[in-house]
């Protein structure tokens, strides 16, 4: 049962010496053995490393050297570089890639004494919304094994929801932390662009990618943010802003707080039960003292999907040019021609969705189309950001559904890219604007989770954590566990 603990609960027991990190780590490893055959959330389990890290954590704790994450088991999305441990991006291209260094976020967790128990499955190179685009296997949603967990950080969300770890890290380019958090009924945050260093995060779309936590409650989210946020001179887009103690704002006081509900996020095709759950949840926030404006308009929202699916693939097509079969990764060797080797390396190393996006991005950037697609998208990006800036002059935070639907069936959208892309319609404007967003559990429909998203102003993580925490404390959703 120890694996069900939150970070702050486990920390209390570790500090009081009622539980050791080795015991806690073994509980998670046991749980992994029990549920992994059904869920397939992990690409690899790092048992040996975990036990040795847990032993070291116990030694630190014995000396009284204990921080909030010391001795706490974590799962890392397999897009985060881990020194000496395979980092595959769930791609055949990197199936055997062993990074020579740690990502900054990983290094920070290691310094805190966190214990890595495994690496999480994902859509290949983080491109997807269901974790079905993993080159290895799809991951199953613990609330209904026939359904997707969302994506691309599906493995990270499932590992937390199914208690295979105490918390996890994911990455979010268009909703890849928040949408699976919503689908699996856990907490997931995408910080402001520039808040968490991207050093060692395998690049997908560099102007949109951010690393963030997936946790069992909002307090844990704040604790992980305390550990991973902050300036890093190895990432030139890391912002030298001071990092607050994110737990300080969790005081439950919503009196006078102004919340806006942008009507464009209640899109056509939204499931009525999702809409109802959201309206009930927002009503609850009013009861808790927040002043809610139900009629906010962000008119550029319907353009965000097109902007995203031009900008993200364009950046991806440039970022993924590095996979040439020469320096690392899969390499096609059965030819003497350099160009053929390169083309075949990429033909056999990349999966279908990755190829689709490389083609899309290359097209949008190519001579004759650059102005009509890429430059146009960048201009509309400015309009989207301006609307957020305007809204935040009036409201402290915005509240929306995380996704228009509950988790869909495995296979349901696999052959229809446009339908798949639409499942991120509520999350991707946030990446385009570079502002922070958090998804928290907000109910169920026929046993399937529904997520609520709060959006904050740039570097306004504290406000959305505060609102999320107040709602969580007034409800029971975050305590519910799937029967697997």
């Amino acid at each position: 049962m120890n694996e069900q603990l939150t970070i702050h609960e486990a920390h209390g027991l570790l500090k009081a010496k009622k539980l050791s990190s080795v015991e806690l780590t073994k509980a998670c490893l046991e749980r992994i053995k029990e549920v992994e055959p059904k869920l397939k959330a992990l690409v690899s389990t790092t048992e040996e490393l975990a036990i040795s890290q847990a032993q070291k954590a116990d030694q630190r704790i014995a000396k009284g050297d204990i921080g909030p994450l010391t001795g706490i088991p974590v799962v890392l999305k397999d897009v985060l570089c881990t020194r000496g441990i395979k980092t595959t991006c769930s791609s055949k291209m990197l199936e055997n890639f062993i990074p020579p260094y740690d990502a900054t976020a990983v290094e920070k967790l290691n310094d805190c004494g966190a214990v890595t128990v495994g690496k999480a499955n994902m859509d290949e190179f983080a491109m997807g919304s269901s974790t079905e685009h993993s080159a290895f296997f799809p991951t199953h949603n613990p609330w209904d094994l026939d359904r997707v967990p969302g994506g691309s950080s599906g493995g990270s969300a499932v590992a937390v929801a199914a208690d295979e770890c105490i918390f996890s890290l994911g990455s979010d380019t268009g909703g890849s932390i928040r949408q699976p958090a919503g689908f699996c009924s856990v907490v997931g945050m995408k910080p402001t662009y520039g808040r968490v260093s991207r050093y060692g995060l395998v690049a997908f779309a560099s102007s949109l990618d951010q690393i963030g936590p997936l946790t069992k409650d909002v307090t844990d989210c704040a604790l992980v943010m305390n550990a991973i946020a902050g300036f890093d001179n190895r990432d030139s887009t890391s912002v030298p802003e001071p990092t607050p103690d994110y737990t300080k704002c969790l005081n439950g006081d919503l009196k006078g707080l102004k919340l806006g509900v942008p009507k464009e996020y209640f899109v056509k095709g939204m499931q009525p039960e999702v809409e109802k759950a959201l309206k009930d949840a927002i009503g609850k926030l009013e009861e808790l003292g927040a002043k809610v404006d139900w009629e906010v308009s962000l008119p550029s929202t319907p353009n965000a999907l097109a902007v995203y699916y031009i900008i993200a693939p364009s950046e991806a097509s440039a970022n993924l040019a590095r996979y040439d079969g020469v320096k690392y990764g899969f390499s096609y060797k059965d030819t003497d021609s350099m160009w053929e080797a390169m083309e075949k390396t990429r033909q056999f190393g990349f999966g279908e969705e990755v190829k689709r996006r490389i083609m899309l991005g290359t097209y949008a950037l190519s001579a004759g189309y650059y102005d009509a697609y890429y430059l146009k998208a960048q201009k509309v990006r400015t309009l989207i950001r301006r609307e957020f800036d305007q809204a935040f002059k009036k409201y402290d935070a915005l509240v929306t559904p995380t996704s228009p639907t509950v988790p869909f069936k495995i296979g349901e959208k696999l052959d229809d890219p446009v339908q798949m892309y639409l499942s991120d319609v509520c999350t991707l404007p946030i990446n385009i604007a570079g502002v922070p967003g958090i998804s928290i559990p907000a109910g169920f429909s026929n046993g399937l989770p529904i997520g609520m998203q709060f959006i904050g102003k740039p570097f306004g993580e504290e406000t959305i954590l505060k609102v999320a925490h107040a709602y969580e404390q007034a409800t029971e959703w975050h305590k519910m566990r799937a029967e697997i």
Partner: protein, 88 residues
């Protein structure tokens, strides 16, 4: 299609080309919506933070050892990456 695939150095089968042609034109149709947006005098946004010209102090420090850099190389020759002949 083949021109774009060549620009991306992406080998595609005939089946790939057929499938992608249909899917991409579908996706591109959904982008038409942007042509109706008035962006007169709107500057483009390449990234969302106000940083410009980020530089680092010029400090010397050891780089990663050669053997670590070569550890993942598909083909190597001593202390070099081995590549196919560029000039034929």
């Amino acid at each position: 299609m083949l021109h774009i695939a060549r620009l991306a150095r992406l080998g595609l089968t005939e089946e790939d080309v057929d499938r992608l042609r249909e899917q991409l034109s579908n996706i591109l149709e959904n982008f038409e919506i942007l042509q109706q947006v008035d962006t007169t005098d709107v500057p483009p946004t390449a990234q969302s933070i106000p940083l410009q010209n980020v530089t680092k102090d010029d400090q010397t420090k050891p780089s990663l050892p050669q053997e670590q850099i070569l550890a993942n190389a598909p083909r190597k020759d001593g202390e070099y990456f081995r590549v196919k002949a560029v000039l034929e």
